[in-house]
Amino acid sequence: MLTAMARPVELVTTLEGEDARRFLEELEHPKRNKALERTIARARRFEKAK
C-alpha cells in the first residue's frame, strides 16, 4: 500500500509493505534501465552547454 497525495504537491511519499521492500531492493540492486540511461545521457547535454 502507499499513502501519497494529490495537489497541492506533497513533499513526502510513504511506501509501505511490499512496495517499500521492492523499492529498497531496487535501490540496493538497481536493474539496467535503458530509458533512464537515455534520459541521463540527454541531461548531460546541459552540462556540456554550460
Binding site: 511506501l15 534520459t39 546541459f46 552547454a49
Partner: protein, 173 residues
C-alpha cells in the same frame, strides 16, 4: 544556457519581470500557478520554477521541489545496506507547455533538465531519486524517461495522481 538539442533559446529561473499573462497550457490550475504562485513559492524557497523560452516567449515551465521517499512499516533488519528510512529526492512538482509550443519537445527537454538539476543537487546535498506524481494519462510518458510506478497497487485505486520514481545510480553513473 543553450543546449543545441533543445527547442528553447534559454531555460532560466522564473523572475518577477517575466510576463506570463498570456501563458496557456490548457489547464486552469497550472495557468494560475505559473501566473500567480510560482514566483512567490520560489521567493519563499518552497520550490524553484524554470521557464523555457522560445523566441523570448515563455513556452513551458518546470517546478521542482526537494522531496523524500519514506519506507514505513519495515523493521531495521529489512532496510538492507541503506539503513535510512527516508531517501532524498528532487520532485517534478509541475511541468506544462503553452499550447502554442506543443509538439516541439518542450516537455521532454524540461524532464531532462530536471535530471540535470538533480545531478547538481546530488553533488551539493545528496539526492538519489527523481520523483513525480503523474496524472493517469501521463504514466506512459514518464515511463519513457525511465520512471517506474512506485506502488503496484495504485493502478487499481483510480487515483488522480500516481507516484513514480527514477533511481539515480551512485557515483555519477
Amino acid at each position: 544556457m543553450h543546449n543545441p538539442y533543445s527547442p528553447f533559446n534559454d531555460i532560466s529561473r522564473i523572475a518577477g519581470n517575466v510576463d506570463l499573462s498570456a501563458f496557456d497550457c490548457g489547464d486552469p490550475d497550472f495557468n494560475d500557478y505559473i501566473m500567480n504562485e510560482a514566483y512567490i513559492d520560489q521567493q519563499e524557497n518552497f520550490s524553484v520554477t524554470y521557464i523555457g523560452f522560445i523566441g523570448g516567449k515563455p513556452a513551458a515551465f518546470l517546478s521542482l521541489v526537494a522531496a523524500a521517499y519514506k519506507t514505513a512499516s519495515l523493521d531495521r533488519t529489512e532496510l538492507g545496506k541503506y539503513s535510512y528510512r527516508s531517501v532524498p529526492a528532487v520532485k517534478i512538482a509541475r511541468v506544462a507547455v503553452d499550447n502554442a509550443f506543443k509538439g516541439k519537445g518542450c516537455g521532454r527537454v524540461l524532464i531532462e533538465y530536471a535530471f540535470y538539476i538533480a545531478k547538481k543537487v546530488r553533488q551539493l546535498v545528496g539526492c538519489r531519486l527523481v520523483v513525480t506524481d503523474a496524472l493517469p494519462e501521463r504514466i506512459g510518458w514518464y515511463e519513457g524517461f525511465g520512471f517506474k510506478l512506485s506502488s503496484q497497487h495504485v493502478k487499481a485505486e483510480n487515483r488522480k495522481n500516481y507516484p513514480m520514481h527514477a533511481t539515480l545510480l551512485p557515483d555519477g553513473r
